[in-house]
């Protein structure tokens, strides 16, 4: 009996090859036309959302971190505004100690300092309440910490006596730890330096022992550099 080529071939193999070819064409088109960036809190990843209400000295209003991002920003572009986020707890002793440095950094890199010729760096604090004994925070305590006013306890001392001057940057209410969990922050204070396009450039968790101020000076573009 004479067999013709393909007579006994199973149609399932041919079909499978055709469908898989179609599938891989789709995958290749996506691979060739996009460069996806993962969302996360590691350096090089897109910063996750940070939402809630923030206090800026005059009251509480809606906060959305995404409003800071400029997707058209390019590396070296000095006009883009960078963002520093500090995850802190008003009852964490180290956060209280570092409040002075945060205030100095915020003033030095804000654009009002004539000695800083680099891109503007916006500072944001996300104030949480850690699940530790003695950590009992509130919005009133966040206000007292930021404005350095008396009448509330911050880490067993009056908030008005914390080091440094009153802060002029916004404090986001994260007492329910929503943002902290989303950002997978393991302890306070934690710092993130974020590029104007929303990509995390530096984090204190990934660079132990490295100072936030040094990171800003190294990474944020300057006219004189």
């Amino acid at each position: 009996m004479k067999y013709t080529y393909d007579d006994d071939a199973d149609v399932r193999t041919t079909t499978l090859i055709r469908v898989m070819a179609l599938f891989f064409v789709g995958i290749m088109i996506i691979a060739a036309t996009t460069s996806p960036i993962a969302t996360g809190t590691k350096e090089g990843e897109r910063a996750p959302a940070l939402e809630g209400e923030f206090y800026n000295g005059s009251g509480w209003s809606d906060f959305n971190l995404e409003s800071y991002w400029d997707s058209s920003w390019g590396e070296g572009d000095i006009s883009g505004q960078w963002v520093v986020i500090e995850f802190m707890d008003t009852d964490c002793p180290y956060c209280v100690q570092s409040a002075e440095d945060m205030g100095i950094n915020a003033n030095d890199f804000s654009g009002t300092n004539p000695q800083w010729d680099g891109a503007i760096v916006n500072f944001i604090a996300s104030a949480t309440e850690l699940d530790l004994s003695g950590h009992d925070s509130s919005r009133a305590e966040i206000i007292a910490f930021r404005d350095k006013t008396t009448g509330e306890d911050c880490a067993s001392s009056d908030c008005g006596s914390r080091p440094g001057a009153a802060h002029n940057f916004p404090y986001v209410d994260d007492l329910d730890q929503d943002n902290m969990k989303k950002w997978k922050v393991s302890g306070t204070p934690s710092y993130y330096l974020i590029q104007p396009d929303g990509i995390i450039a530096w984090s204190s968790a990934a660079n132990p022992g490295e100072d936030l101020r040094d990171a800003i000076i190294t990474l944020v573009p300057r006219e004189s550099a």
């Binding site: 079909t15 499978l16 179609l22 996506i30 960036i37 969302t39 996750p48 929303g198």
Partner: protein
């Protein structure tokens, strides 16, 4: 090209496929049966409609995967202040991947529609093979399982108060595919499989 206009590239084949699958297709596509003989039979028409639906479902799933990649780059594709804003849905990192493996829903859709396309395409090529009836059953089960995923994704959309029109097209494609596989499975179990 406008995002909603581009969507029509998927909506039209899904709807044409759906009408071919439904009994009403006999009347609607009767005039085409002379040019395309396979449309002259119930089995041939449902097979054709199902292949078209699965192809469109796979394509729209790839498009949603592409949109999610573009959004992750910082771009936007179909952002809108209205309730119809696929960027808000596909770009929401809390909901845009499956809760177990973190795979984007668009990728899952592309794989599932690829499997469905394989099942229906091979069955259409050899409708009397022993395995064809099993393939039609698998297709019915897979598309039925898709209903649970659709419910979950619609629930997400309710939570976000936004509707992703591209995702909805893929959901409709799954519903159409279920009807098609179910009709073919029932037809396959009847005596009329080779006569209709």
């Amino acid at each position: 090209m406008d995002a909603n206009l581009q969507l029509m590239l998927y909506v039209i084949p899904v709807l044409v496929g759906l009408f071919m699958i439904l009994p009403v297709g006999r009347t609607l596509f009767a005039s085409l049966s002379e040019t395309i003989p396979s449309l002259g039979t119930e089995r041939g028409r449902v097979f054709s409609g199902l292949i078209l639906t699965c192809l469109a479902g796979m394509a729209v799933s790839f498009q949603t995967l592409w949109i999610s990649s573009k959004i992750s780059e910082g771009g936007n594709f179909c952002a809108s202040n209205s309730i119809l804003s696929c960027d808000d849905v596909i770009g929401n990192v809390e909901y845009n991947t499956d809760p177990f493996f973190g795979i984007p829903w668009g990728g899952i859709g592309a794989v599932v529609f690829g499997i469905l396309l394989y099942l229906v395409y091979s069955s259409s090529k050899e409708p009397n093979a022993n395995w064809a009836s099993s393939y039609l059953k698998y297709g019915t089960y897979i598309t039925f399982a898709g209903f649970f995923v659709i419910v979950l994704l619609v629930f997400y959309e309710f939570q976000m108060e936004k509707i992703c029109q591209y995702c909805t097209t893929a959901h409709v494609a799954n519903i159409a595919a279920f009807i098609g596989f179910f009709r073919l499975m029932r037809l396959n179990q009847s005596k009329d499989w080779n006569t209709v």
